[in-house]
């Protein structure tokens, strides 16, 4: 199977006021999204997962800069395209949806107009055809009273409906790739379930590949075929979804899984990863997770582990990937 998107060795840095040194938000990330699949990019705040996707879309803020790497999409390197070329791809062959649809919708234009505009711009339809198609799309993404909603302004819709509008807009051109950055994080659980189902149904109909960025392991389990786990700007593990949930190997991934309050009975302490994520300007030497890792040795503190294949494409950046002799202890703080 071929890959719709291949990111190779992406490095992204940020400048901030009053600090000379640039912070490395993404350090050598490689990932591939196979055609028709959903790939999850998981990690905690600040791990670089959103920066990775924004770089690919050419949407980094002014203080961000791609230092090196490639993002191959249909034979083109997206990182080398001009703004004009990128605009033609964005919203057409690659679409993106974000956590808070309110920030990506124009508050003074009706949602119907915003969606039909995309159709006129990218699809070359006239106003009448675009309107009819927009209403069709609204119905498809489950917006009740689609005709009436066409004339609604974003603030007149609930968060769930706004996200449906965004998804409708994103799917208008049947993009080859949809990048979804925490699409359900701001939504209530009953609405989240509806939106996740909608994304899966649309994928089944259109064959769109999805890069799903989330911190929620429940959403990963529900949606993804393959998963990349990021920590402090690097990919630390990659596996298919079943392998990841059954036998994850990196101590960070294991810690994340163990700290979920799933079936832990009351009174029994939850596992927690001690400490906090490192400062991007003061990365620990050796393995970036070593200061928080209960298995870390001298070697981990001095030498940098590579992303090794444990077999079958299960990649792990650790000198001591899981073996059963090493149960998690659960050290506090």
């Amino acid at each position: 199977m071929s890959n719709i998107l291949e990111i190779k060795n992406l490095c992204v840095s940020f400048a901030s006021d009053g600090v000379k040194e640039r912070a490395m938000a993404v350090s050598g990330v490689s990932l591939a999204v196979p055609e028709g699949k959903t790939v999850g990019l998981v990690g905690e705040s600040g791990c670089g997962k959103s920066v990775t996707s924004l770089s690919v879309m050419g949407l980094l803020s002014d203080n961000g800069r791609v230092e090196s790497g490639e993002a191959l999409f249909g034979g083109q390197d997206l990182l080398r395209l001009s703004d004009r070329e990128m605009r033609r791809i964005r919203g057409n062959r690659i679409s993106m949806i974000f956590q808070e649809p309110m920030t990506s919708l124009n508050p003074v234009i009706t949602v119907g107009k915003q969606v039909s505009e995309a159709l006129r711009l990218h699809g070359g339809m006239d106003a009448k055809a675009a309107k009819a198609r927009t209403i069709e799309i609204f119905e498809k993404v489950g917006i009740p009273e689609a005709e009436r909603r066409f004339k609604s302004y974003p603030h007149q819709l609930s968060g769930g409906l706004r996200q449906r509008v965004m998804i409708g807009m994103a799917m208008v051109m049947r993009p080859a790739l949809l990048i979804a950055d925490e699409p359900t994080t701001a939504l209530d659980v009953s609405i989240e379930a509806q939106i996740l189902r909608l994304m899966r149904d649309l994928q089944r109909d259109t064959g769109t590949s999805i890069l799903l960025i989330t911190h929620n392991l429940g959403v990963v389990a529900e949606m993804c075929d393959e998963v990349y786990v990021m920590y402090a700007g690097e990919v630390v593990e990659r596996a298919n979804v079943t392998t990841l949930f059954d036998t994850c190997a990196h101590p960070y991934t294991r810690g994340l899984m163990a700290s979920l309050p799933r079936m832990t009975p009351k009174g029994q302490r939850l596992y927690n990863i001690r400490g906090t994520v490192p400062n991007l300007r003061a990365m620990p030497s050796g393995c970036r997770f070593s200061p928080r890792c209960e298995f870390a040795t001298e070697m981990c503190r001095g030498e940098k582990p590579e992303l090794n294949d444990l077999g079958g494409g299960h990649l792990c950046r650790c000198f001591y990937p899981k073996d059963d002799e090493r149960p998690l202890g659960g050290i506090d703080r």
Binding site: S190, E222, F245, S259, P261, R262, R269, N272
Partner: protein
């Protein structure tokens, strides 16, 4: 176990343009000393408002709150101040609830100053350092400011401040919702430890059903200002009786890919407005079992046995 808090027929209505928001409509419950009572519901259901009513942070439209057997509405002045020391709150957003211009030491000391606890400043500073230690903050950080701390550490500051007056009841309003999962586990463990060490009672408000399950002895489910169900935690999760609870539990994406293809019933429609809530059962517009009775007659919270209460004309089989 004795009863620490009793809420009787709490009602809160906010007048707005074009009507009245029925934020909390006739809710009654009690919490035993040392117990954790979970409160779950989706945004806008009134769960945070309910927490604030219990603490008397906003005035009740009607109803009564008893703390340690005493009716809060009958107390005035010093007697009320003393009683309220026993009830504190931890908020969701540790960024918004800490004054950025105050050092951590001063933030935690403020309730001690307000209630004139400790003989002098030095004694209060010692108490603050002890509190910091207890919540896992290094006492050397006394003079630092909130922005110098991470989200998890800030939540620890909020917890230390809540503990300063040695309360018996703490209302935790989404205390881990803004935190990453590894940090969330640290704070949940801390809340558990503090409860064991100090015999604390919690009203734990959250939209996260997994978190509530882990921490609570009993759980209440709220929908549009009303209680749907209240039961011991395991009974509620294993065999919910209210259709809304069932939908809510089914909707949570579980971290288990093998369950992905399970047929799950999804709630349809949008949340109704608390300004003009439906007549009868407020859930009926989204409920597949609703009939005429549900439209005409408001279901009362009934005891189905073993402490399992449900407000539904057609409760699910257990």
């Amino acid at each position: 176990m004795s009863e620490l808090l009793r809420a009787e027929h709490l009602v809160k209505e906010f007048p707005v343009e074009g009507g009245v928001v029925h934020a909390v409509s006739d809710i009654s419950f009690a919490i035993q000393e040392g117990e954790t009572l979970g409160l779950v519901g989706e945004s806008g259901c009134g769960k945070s408002t309910l927490g604030k009513l219990v603490l008397d942070l906003i005035p009740l439209t009607s109803g009564k709150v008893f703390f340690d057997g005493r009716d809060l509405s009958t107390l005035r002045g010093e007697a009320l101040r003393t009683l309220r020391r026993g009830m504190q709150m931890i908020f969701q957003d540790p960024y918004a609830s800490l004054d950025p211009r105050m050092s951590v030491g001063r933030i935690i000391m403020e309730p001690l100053n307000a209630h004139r606890i400790g003989a002098n400043r030095a004694e209060r500073a010692d108490m603050v350092r002890a509190l910091m230690e207890q919540v896992g903050l290094r006492p050397e950080f006394y003079s630092r400011y909130p922005h110098q701390f991470s989200g998890g550490q800030r939540q620890r500051i909020g917890i230390a401040r809540a503990l300063a007056l040695n309360p018996r009841l703490i209302i935790c309003d989404e205390p881990v919702s803004a935190l990453d999962v590894s940090i969330q586990a640290q704070i949940l463990n801390l809340l558990g430890d503090l409860q064991r060490q100090r015999g604390l009672t919690y009203l734990f408000i959250s939209h996260d059903l997994n978190v509530v399950r882990y921490l609570s002895d009993r759980v209440m489910v709220m929908f549009l200002g009303q209680l749907c169900e209240m039961a011991p935690t395991e009974a509620l999760y294993a065999a919910p009786r209210h259709p809304y609870t069932r939908f809510l539990l089914d909707a949570v994406p579980q971290p288990d890919p093998s369950r992905r293809d399970e047929e799950r019933a999804l709630l349809t429609g949008e949340v109704s407005s608390p300004v003009n809530p439906p007549s009868g059962c407020r859930f009926r517009l989204r409920c597949p079992f609703a009939d005429e009775r549900c439209a005409g007659e408001k279901p009362e919270l009934k005891d189905l046995g073993d402490g399992h209460f449900c407000a539904c004309h057609h409760p699910l089989e257990s």
